[in-house]
Symmetry: C2
């Protein structure tokens, strides 16, 4: 694998959009207390500060799966116990942007201050535009919220217009569309902040899904993949590098089979072949690989998929999967 450095003889520092996976905030088996989450976020902030210290300009996005899942359950419980109306999913998504953005911006600012790096961190509440004609709206597939018995599920489906499906023996659950992100509504604000040296946290949880209906934005109850939205963020800020940090150190072909092979440096063409051959799991590594390919197709220098704690080394080309044009 080719070594890369961030040294440049001229021009601005390399700009990297970092898409943080759920494990950056909450780890498998944890309950989701504030203390657990803040501890993880502080460790993540150290990783990001390390990258900033090496001279990169950083823009951050993050997942929100466990947090929005918890919030939907809390809203369901609040309705049952106290009769408080549950908010729709777009609002719940906006709430988790505030929640996680706050934790990251505080922890990262503290970490940067401790290192004597005078930079400000700011979270932008972000709406992500999707097409009202996206076929996902006709085929909701992403399970969200609590499990119900069949009767309750069907009653809710009737009352609220939900689509519900049976989830392999665990009960019934609501499914929502997962449309493809087209653009970030707050693009100009994000660009402005990034150009002025702020470290921006944006499109958290894939952004709040909105559609344009006769010139007006409207929220939709849907879930946008955070890596695909992160790729739009990388386009928005004209990043050189788009880096997806997750719980595995890259993408593998023949994953879990005897001939499994982890990918290092790989061209767009090669990656597209693997993708079309079905090597990457839908709803898991699939969208990450798709997002990485999109970024390089758009004109990005490099897209990286790596483990959270290997981010700094992956940026220098030392580890992880590195997708390049050729």
């Amino acid at each position: 694998m080719r070594m890369m450095t961030n040294k440049r003889t001229s021009g601005r520092a390399k700009r990297v959009v970092i898409a943080l996976g759920g494990n950056a905030i909450l780890q498998r088996g944890q309950k989701g207390t504030y203390e657990e989450q803040m501890k993880n976020v502080m460790e993540t902030a150290r990783q990001i500060a390390e990258i900033i210290e090496r001279g990169y300009e950083v823009v951050i996005t993050h997942g929100n799966g466990p947090q929005v899942g918890a919030l939907l359950l809390q809203m369901d419980a609040g309705q049952q116990l106290y009769g408080i109306p549950a908010q729709p999913m777009d609002v719940a998504g906006a709430m988790t942007q505030g929640q996680i953005g706050y934790m990251i911006q505080q922890a990262l600012k503290n970490e940067l201050d401790a290192r004597g790096i005078k930079r400000n961190v700011v979270t932008v509440v972000t709406q992500t535009l999707v097409s009202a004609d996206d076929p996902a709206f006709q085929n909701p597939s992403k399970p969200v919220g609590p499990f119900y018995d069949e009767e309750t599920a069907k009653k809710l489906a009737k009352e609220k217009g939900w689509v519900v499906v049976e989830d392999a023996g665990r009960g019934w659950r609501r499914v929502v569309p997962s449309p493809d992100p087209k653009a970030l509504v707050e693009a100009e604000a994000i660009q402005n902040l990034v150009e002025n040296g702020f470290i921006v946290i944006a499109s958290g949880g894939g952004g709040i899904p909105v559609v344009n209906v006769n010139g007006r934005l409207e929220g939709r109850e849907a879930v946008i993949d955070k890596d695909l939205a992160g790729e739009r963020l990388a386009e928005t800020v004209k990043a050189e590098v788009f880096m997806i940090l997750t719980d595995v150190n890259g993408a593998a072909i023949n994953y879990g089979k005897p001939n499994e092979r982890w990918l290092g440096r790989v061209t767009l063409e090669e990656m597209r072949r693997y993708y079309e051959e079905g090597h990457f799991k839908r709803g898991s590594m699939g969208p990450k690989v798709l997002a990485a390919m999109r970024f390089v197709e758009w004109g990005g220098e490099r897209a990286i998929i790596a483990a959270l704690d290997r981010g700094a080394d992956a940026l220098e080309g030392k580890t992880g999967t590195q997708v390049v044009a050729r």
Copy 2:
């Protein structure tokens, strides 16, 4: 009352920070459904767009009382029914910033677009710095969250270190400190966006309370008055006018008495006398008047207290209470 206009022979448009009261989002007697809240927010957006159309530069802050109250109950219910750990109040505050910021930024953008005004609206997740030595931390007084029976309340107090008090026959309730806001942590990002023509929503719900502990920011379970925080926002963006919109059209002396008198144009000195004479209710009109006085003391041209639907006229000096230096 002197007529005022926003026509200026030179320089930039007048900048006004608008602090929206709870009624801008949820009205008394409403349950808090998304539909109710969005309808109110759309009406508020029309008021604000009218002000922007008249040539003012607008920066927005808002309360979050009913929303954070609902969220604390939802978290309590989520803990009881599903065992989901409740998040602390600073996180809950951050969540409502995402929630309300999203609704306002979407509704206002739609309203501006419909009027052919090409401006972007953006919500900045805002931490508000308070002093760790603020006497409020020794004297928590602001009731939050659900009512409990005495036994449960005392158990929770012991387990979680809460202060609980009996609330006039309605049961026991947690009380939290309401410290005085000193500064907004995200001040530079807010300034940058405002200077570049963005309509910024910031310090929602008074901002997320943080203290500086040996150079590190840490969240605190507290509630910051949104008008006092809004005044810091007005200082931050060097506003000419700070306008508090609420459910009454100004401040009154001898409120509710036969000799009640609503205040129109009033000097800082006069207002301070009324304030010290105890004309304004603590936790209600009191902090609004205090915030208005602070703004004029700081050097602001005018601070206004007016009804939500009278904002545009109040800005032109036609209605509401107008606090001026002399």
